[in-house]
Symmetry: D2
Subunit: 278 residues, 4 copies
Amino acid sequence: MTKARGNGKKPAPAKAPETQWRTALTCIEPNKILMRGYPLDEIMGRLTFGESIYLLLMGEVPSPGIGSLMEAILVSFIDHGATPPSTLAARNTATTGAPLRACVAAGVLGFGRYHGGDIESCMQFLDAGLELVRKGASYKDAATTIVERCIEAGEAIPGFGHRFHTRDPRAARLFQMALELEVEAHHIQMIRAVELVAGALPDGHAVPVNIDGAIAAVCGDIGIPPEIANALFIISRVPGIAAQAHEERVREHPMRSIDPKEHTYDGAGQRRLPDKRR
Amino acid sequence: MTKARGNGKKPAPAKAPETQWRTALTCIEPNKILMRGYPLDEIMGRLTFGESIYLLLMGEVPSPGIGSLMEAILVSFIDHGATPPSTLAARNTATTGAPLRACVAAGVLGFGRYHGGDIESCMQFLDAGLELVRKGASYKDAATTIVERCIEAGEAIPGFGHRFHTRDPRAARLFQMALELEVEAHHIQMIRAVELVAGALPDGHAVPVNIDGAIAAVCGDIGIPPEIANALFIISRVPGIAAQAHEERVREHPMRSIDPKEHTYDGAGQRRLPDKRR
Amino acid sequence: MTKARGNGKKPAPAKAPETQWRTALTCIEPNKILMRGYPLDEIMGRLTFGESIYLLLMGEVPSPGIGSLMEAILVSFIDHGATPPSTLAARNTATTGAPLRACVAAGVLGFGRYHGGDIESCMQFLDAGLELVRKGASYKDAATTIVERCIEAGEAIPGFGHRFHTRDPRAARLFQMALELEVEAHHIQMIRAVELVAGALPDGHAVPVNIDGAIAAVCGDIGIPPEIANALFIISRVPGIAAQAHEERVREHPMRSIDPKEHTYDGAGQRRLPDKRR
Amino acid sequence: MTKARGNGKKPAPAKAPETQWRTALTCIEPNKILMRGYPLDEIMGRLTFGESIYLLLMGEVPSPGIGSLMEAILVSFIDHGATPPSTLAARNTATTGAPLRACVAAGVLGFGRYHGGDIESCMQFLDAGLELVRKGASYKDAATTIVERCIEAGEAIPGFGHRFHTRDPRAARLFQMALELEVEAHHIQMIRAVELVAGALPDGHAVPVNIDGAIAAVCGDIGIPPEIANALFIISRVPGIAAQAHEERVREHPMRSIDPKEHTYDGAGQRRLPDKRR
């Protein structure tokens, strides 16, 4: 008998496999942890969790403006109530008595093509428009062209429309922050042009930019590539999934039948942040 | 044929099942999202992601001191290099070509009894000591008693010891912050007493408080219950899992055999945070 | 910078770690695959999938009788309609557009304490009764003792009761097969004694052995240990989870709200197996 | 406050949503379980697990020949040793102390584009060739055309090549069984034509049909569509994942660093099936 080597299928690249592989994220030495070169204990108390996430994924400490947008993006997606399918997958897992980490894993698996996937496709959609602008088209003409392509293909415009909100308050706030922090640039300009074109379509109902679209545009303008934007989406919703699964575990009886329509909100009434946080 | 109702097994509680179930987390109305009563768009730009996580899990906006500790706790666990088994589960999933969310789910499933689970057991361990203090024992005597119980049961002291670090820089920093922010209280006092007792054991090597122990003590002192502390651990490591899986996807060839020992760090050299962040 | 080694926490065992680790399951050599010593291509066409599962988990080819029971155990759990929480977790994942493997993973995570976990706890429960029999008690007295322990602890009797069935047809069939195949032994005798004791309880409703209980008793009598029985449960339900998730993907529109109560069966009407299969 | 309805984003189809949704798989009534119309307790002991999987996924009891191939397909993939990335994901999850179901879920998530995904792409590849045959091409010419398309696109031929085996014993056995059971048809004929064309390529090394390719061809010939073939792959490997994770839990110490190269097989030596099973 011999020990196995490799697991099979798909020829390895022709070159001799290197014995060493590399990571540029975190260096572990005895009593020392360097994340992207910075001692982790020095980061603690000096960068927020949101800024540290940016540092880990992008490699550098964000500027104050980009750091603020990073926090806002992460906060915007943190939870959307009890009814998204990913949340219901986590709650249905919780009701079987599974531990919290299993519920979170089940929830994360539901961040699929139709849920969160719009960020990546909207970034590609906006980039297609910006390519036309670089070739000389106006924003309005470019927006018209890419919207028509969607309509011809029978596809929804990525980053637009919401079954529940006719005006997404999170998208509006994110655009306002981008304006105030002076990071608004080509991608936001393009999505606003698309909004005007889409709003004038003859199907009679306004189609608002949704939070996926807003995040796609802001990420485009601050230089975050699509797969990192996708990672941000996963990271941002994990607290919501965990909170919903935890609530299921502590408030409901096990093995119940979860009807998403039959729930009521019984938490705190609407309130304002304390003055010092406004 | 009839439609099925319920899924079987385990008798439901005797009382008639209510048709309505309740959630106190997030209220969704058309064009309005209230998290714990606060409009989500008002939270964006005003609370950080770390503070929003606290608000979502605990129900109230944290005080500035607790907010700072929350960020530090989340940052302390954000990544620990390429070799934790949970990270290797995520990297082995990534090398098959699985999407990022599947890699994150596989990684989260590895936050098991031996990985992160120490936070919860250390909180129970410290509470057992504090129970003795409430009954009149000194911290030193209480620490001696609970350490001896571990030794008699043949168990490791929860929250102590690290295979790699002899002094965990994250734990030291967290205790320093708790002292400066004046939230240090009974749990930290108890873990320090345990540290002295454990350090005097005759097995000849110092056993440091690890980051699990430090988080357990700080969470105890700021009123975070064990299962919420467990949720914080899951939330905090997701960025690291996502970053490691993303790096695997973009830097390595698919279906490779991942030997955790054979990796080298090739990222940024050690550096200091910019002056304004210190 | 140096390469990391080990991932931390929890002291390794005192002895020097061996560089070689061992597996006794499947040996892979070029052009040869031996499972438990048998060439896999020789097993194909000669052992069924159910017999091969037994061989892989238990190490030997089952006798014909045990092989038949193995098939029946696996078939008994294969699906239980659209409403078990694990199935709903898989369907909620499917509606997001996630791939089939992600839906299956989400479903498997719901095989928790309250769903399938009864097999393991029922095996321990029956073993506690058999321990009393070995010490001289009659089956009836032993059953009375272990049932009373449950009642005193306020716990349900493991392996008994079903929210939907008052007589579980799968359990009855499994016991009948065990009798015909002459593998019925002490565990089945014990669970029948428990059934008599539980049926005479003054709470006025018959509490039937459920399929978890029947599998626990049969596994006990054919020498399958609890964790392997737990593995069989996971393996047996994966086809059902996959079929339900596949049906969700092909019959329903994405991102729908899944109310478990609002479904109708529209498949084949009741029918008999072809004569030659009876 | 109002109850939420729907989870947002992506307009629902224009037609009014039906309140009832449908399933054709399993009908649950009190004391009765009908799978595809057959009472589950009547299936137990009469159909094998493999035949029941076919019935559940395809809707009808398989003919004896197709039933035998179904068993062989499921057996062929049951395990491939300790080194596939999906198995390593499961082992790395097991070493953290996670329960068996979490290890299985982590393993299933690794059935990605590069691992198992070849079945579906090979079925499409063969169908493209058969389309040419239907238009009048010979099998040899059709095979040449579709192989050249792969080469021009710089892609591997789906269903061909193995990093470890130069002749896959499972593929050979499956083709032999298809021939003996007289189900060999157009897809197998096409993959054999491709094998001849690929073997004559000037890159100097034989490229064998792998087990993905063999399953793709056999599934094509017995009328199993690609997504069901994909489900079969997931179902077939779950026992292997579970067995490997179970072995990790019982034979190795927790939180170890798993180097896939450093393992030895120490199980049963090569042996033959008992005479009566040959």
